[in-house]
Amino acid sequence: MKLTIGAICGPAGSKANRTGSWRSYRPILHPETCTDCGLCATFCPDSCVFPQGEAYCIDYTYCKGCGICAEECPSGAIKMIVEEK
């Protein structure tokens, strides 16, 4: 790997950094309770929640387990459970 001039680099290299390993808790989304409001996806600091069908899905590769999605979900569709290592 050769260094680039001026330490300038290309986009989205961060995807190689799997921040999912940081988790102590993981969110579980229950689609049956989900009202499809989308607040979880809006508020995720790590862009880890995305729409799927009429509910939402979590990208566990990067999810740091902060729990904002569970906290903000108005219908209680997201629960935080202990991350099993």
């Binding site: 986009p11 989205a12 961060s14 995807k15 862009s47 740091k64 902060c66 904002i68």
Partner: protein, 299 residues
């Protein structure tokens, strides 16, 4: 509740894998900012939390052009970029995303110059109310009586002894066309304000309250809740100013007492544990009341 902002899996212009702390308010703010700007933007950020978590060499999360120069010169660098884009005949927007340290303190001179030159730049301050990246030292944005590592409460001190610098007023005093404050708790409002700002020619200033769970001392899942409480107590008034006049205010129904906000954060916990704390809390309530009067917050 606001309408769905993310309707389908759309490309994220701030890619995952960045090194923000879990629950980082600034990361949320940046995602929302990028939803408003889209791809046709050049971003500049000074040294700070955002720069640190979003620029490890070869691990950049940015899907748009982004430049980190130094700590004090984001506004001046953005000025040069804006001038260069005029030379190239480009309509790409120039947006600064800077922390409170780089805005209220060390970047003030250059920022004032950018405002004064009337350049077409949107300057957004992600305000986490201290120098968080370097370990929670106070900035001119740190609210009155907050405990930080350089304004700690102690036997002879109650924490930060100066009120929060009124940057929106300072920005407006330059005669710039648009100034606004925004909150993570109202994401659609934040996006609307950014889009409105981008539609106006000239310098614009938007300050976003970005709660920091590490620096303020609250559980990482409560970031949005803290932003909500800050707004609902009147401590973070949400308003727009156009050409120096307040034109829109987010009114508060049943304004909450500041205690509910303060007791949820360890940076204010000393106010509840020490003798005389109640008297100090009353001073913070007075700040909230003054905001409410000044901006007509109570509905």
């Amino acid at each position: 509740m606001s309408a769905k902002l993310i309707k389908e899996r759309e490309p994220e212009l701030l890619a995952p894998g960045h090194r923000a702390c879990p629950g980082c308010g600034t990361a949320i703010a940046v995602r929302l900012i990028l939803k408003a700007t889209g791809r046709d933007v050049i971003l500049v950020s000074p040294t700070g939390c955002l720069e640190t978590f979003a620029s490890r060499y070869l691990e950049s999360p940015w899907e748009v052009p982004w430049m980190h120069p130094l700590f004090e010169n984001a506004a001046a660098v953005a000025s040069g970029i804006e001038a260069a884009l005029r030379v190239k005949g480009s309509s790409t927007k120039v947006v600064v995303i800077a922390g409170d340290g780089g805005t209220f303190d060390i970047g003030m001179g250059g920022l004032s110059g950018m405002f004064e030159r009337g350049q077409d730049i949107l300057y957004i301050c992600y305000d986490n109310e201290a120098y968080m990246n370097t370990g929670v030292q106070r900035s001119a944005s740190t609210p009155y009586l907050a405990s930080t590592t350089t304004s700690p409460h102690g036997r002879r001190a109650w924490g930060e002894d100066r009120p929060k610098k009124d940057m929106p007023a300072i920005a407006a005093a330059h005669g710039i066309p648009y100034v606004a404050t925004a909150s993570l708790a109202y994401p659609q409002d934040l996006i609307n304000k950014i889009k409105k700002a981008l539609s106006i020619k000239g310098p614009k200033y938007i300050q976003i309250d970005c709660p920091c769970n590490i620096g303020w001392g609250f559980p990482e899942s409560k970031t949005i809740e803290m932003a909500r409480l800050a707004a609902q107590t009147g401590l973070t008034p949400l308003f727009e100013m156009e050409n120096g006049q307040v034109t829109k205010v987010r009114k508060i129904k049943d304004r909450k007492p500041v205690e509910e906000y303060l007791e949820a954060q360890s940076r204010f916990r000393h106010l509840f544990q020490r003798e005389g704390g109640a008297g100090q809390i009353a001073k913070i309530q007075a700040i909230a009341d003054a905001n409410a009067r000044r901006y007509g917050l109570d509905s």
